[in-house]
């Protein structure tokens, strides 16, 4: 007969290892002494009893496994109350340019184009605040060209797992660039002309929007916002509104740049609506489109008269981007219309800047990652684009003086009056020092406004 103590000590170490391996040691080991106290093994009766005990142990093991799974699926303990600082996020981006018109070196300029800082705050699990503040052209004062702007200021509220709402001042989901305008996100020292002059990036409006994603990769976004205003339209600026390509992007001369209100005491008599759809269901491929439409604050009529109808502004665009391997290919078409311009335009005949009834542009761009290593990347690119800020007019067409005209109050500062359309070829390279810091260089060739042809250098960062 085997001594029961000896027998149990033979069983115990192997069971202990088994149970510890399963991570269940302490609780289950408590059952072992019961087994150890059983009578001698070796007889049929004691073998049967041992088997029964092992079965019982198996059942207990199963029960403990179930308990472990319950523990695993139990809700986490409530997190400690976060400090207010934990809920704040801070970010920024900025870009600086050097631009050199090749036909007139005297118009070379260097500019800290924008320095932007963003502040966000989480109010709760489903409510976030985002805001961005921008200083353009380094210094903002009455005597300087700079501006200080609130670029975004909105609450983002989750509604379901796949949908949320924005309320406040937010970016309009138009094109590839407007919502993703940080300098690391685009090729070339400056943003492309189509998404500056036709889509007035960085374009934001105040209002409410709803957006969401789906499992199949379709994203949607729709909203009701403030719209445009023609109350301050300048039919006859004293000087041409721009005389270089850099001026062109900064001047605010383009139809929607000149009429968007940026929620600065914006006229809100009429509200605009937008819808945007994007498909991202195939990794590396995007196709999307959007439309924005709304009546604008109308052009002021002369005393004791009125212009029939309000101006309705409609802008639609379609875009695609395909990133197969090292290539990054994109294309975009944008087209805007403004209604009821005939009457106010005909009241301002012979001026250089009537309100267009149609404006549009498109581009195609190809970039290629020629080299990358440890976060650094060199990507040359080429872009061809066309913009026409005044493709059609009603009531009156622009009357532009021929020959050279004064471009500013500076004596001798003369040049041709710029034309509101062009074809531009851009050849350049983005050199990413990290994915968030980029050095850029490009050459831009203008077909119509040849005096705009230029070489640019740039620095961009985003964190």
């Amino acid at each position: 007969m085997t001594d029961p103590q000896t027998d149990s000590t033979m069983i115990r170490p192997s069971l202990r290892r088994l149970l510890q391996a399963a991570g269940l040691g302490t609780a289950l080991l408590a059952t072992i002494p019961a087994l150890a106290a059983e009578p001698a093994a070796g007889t049929p009766a004691s073998e049967q009893q041992t088997e029964q005990k092992i079965k019982a142990l198996e059942q207990q093991l199963d029960a403990l496994k179930a308990q472990v799974q319950q523990i695993q699926s139990a809700p986490a303990p409530a997190p400690a109350p976060p400090s207010p600082l934990e809920n704040i996020s801070f970010w920024g981006y900025g870009e600086a340019y050097y631009t050199h018109p090749v036909h007139d070196g005297s118009r070379s300029q260097a500019d800290l184009a924008r320095a932007v800082f963003g502040i966000g705050y989480s109010f709760g699990p489903h409510t976030r605040f985002n805001s961005e503040y921008e200083v353009e052209h380094a210094i903002s004062s009455a005597d300087d060209p700079g501006e200080f702007e609130v670029e975004q200021f909105y609450i983002n509220q989750d509604l379901t797992r796949w949908a949320s709402m924005n309320v406040g001042l937010f970016l309009i989901p138009s094109g590839l660039l407007n919502q993703h305008h940080e300098p690391t996100n685009f090729y070339g020292v400056q943003r492309n002309f189509v998404e500056t002059l036709i889509i007035p990036s960085t374009w934001r409006e105040g209002g409410v929007s709803f957006q969401g994603d789906t499992d199949i990769g379709l994203s949607w976004n729709l909203g009701v916002t403030t719209g445009l205003s023609f109350a301050g339209w300048d039919y006859a600026p004293e000087f041409p509104q721009y005389s270089t390509a850099l001026d062109l992007e900064n001047s605010g001369a383009a139809p929607m740049q000149a009429s968007h209100q940026e929620l600065a005491l914006a006229n809100a008599q009429h509200l605009s609506q937008f819808v945007a759809l994007n498909y991202n269901g195939i990794p590396g491929f995007n196709v999307g489109a959007s439309i924005f439409t709304g009546e604008a604050e109308k052009v002021p009529a002369p005393p004791a008269s009125d212009y029939p109808g309000n101006q309705r502004v409609t802008l639609w665009e379609a875009h695609t981007r395909w990133q197969p391997g090292r290539f990054d290919l994109s294309a975009l078409y944008a087209r805007g219309t403004i209604s009821n311009t005939a009457a106010p335009n005909s009241q301002n005949p012979g001026t250089p800047n009537p309100i267009p009834s149609l404006f549009y542009g498109y581009y195609a761009q190809a970039a290629y990652t020629a080299w990358q290593h440890a976060g650094q990347r060199i990507a040359p690119f080429v872009r061809w684009e066309l913009y026409d800020m005044g493709a059609r007019y009603a009531g009156a067409s622009p009357t532009l003086p021929s020959g050279d005209v004064p471009l500013s109050e500076t004596p001798g500062d003369v040049g041709p009056y710029p034309i509101a359309r062009d074809h531009v070829w851009t050849y350049g390279v983005n050199y990413y020092l990290t994915p968030n810091v980029v050095l850029k260089a490009d050459y831009q060739n203008f077909s119509v406004n040849r005096q705009f042809t230029r070489v640019d250098l740039g620095l961009g960062l985003n964190f």
Binding site: Q72, S73, W91, S122, D213, P283
Partner: protein
């Protein structure tokens, strides 16, 4: 690496405020159904951090790695990376050979870039292992408009695979 089962409730990845798409338990049940997962949390040594950074090409911010060993020999790992300026919590399941079998987003709280939750994007990682490039625009495709989330998640998963190769995988010798 000692099992520490009863620390489990403390290990739940749960940033104070986030939109949670999968809880830890849900992710574990989804990625390792009916399989016992045993916590096997590790703290990387200086030498291991150096080795991981060399392989992954990115910095190790958190030396604490939340790893569960699956009864079938696989691994369940959770991690967090920044999207643009908010943390994205995610989980990676490896099979017994160290091949990625699933990637799930646990929580996401950016206003933009949430498309990384799309199954089609996450499926790109399936079948990759510690020998894969795991580089955006190389073997992992980008999502236009979600570049930062795609970049940082891809970096994070590459880092986890480097940790697998350095610490978890059977070491030669």
């Amino acid at each position: 690496m000692r099992a520490r089962l009863f620390l489990l409730p403390l290990a739940v990845i749960s940033p104070a405020y986030a939109t949670t798409y999968l809880s830890l338990a849900q992710a574990q049940a989804l990625m390792f159904p009916h399989t016992l997962l045993t916590p096997d949390f590790i703290t990387l040594s200086d030498a291991q951090v150096g080795a991981v950074e060399k392989i992954a090409g990115s910095r190790v911010i958190n030396r604490e790695v939340r790893v569960w060993r699956a009864a079938d020999g696989g691994w369940f790992i959770t991690d967090g990376v920044f999207g643009k300026h908010e943390l994205i919590g995610y989980a990676v399941a490896l099979d017994a050979k160290g091949t990625i079998k699933q990637v799930e987003i646990l929580d996401y709280r950016e206003s933009y870039g949430g498309e990384v939750r799309m199954p089609a994007w996450r499926r790109q990682f399936v079948g990759k292992d510690d020998h894969s490039s795991l580089t955006l625009d190389d073997d992992i495709r980008n999502i236009s408009g979600a570049t930062l989330s795609c970049t940082h998640l891809t970096e994070g998963i590459k880092r986890l695979m480097a940790i697998y190769a350095t610490v978890l995988a059977p070491q030669p010798g």
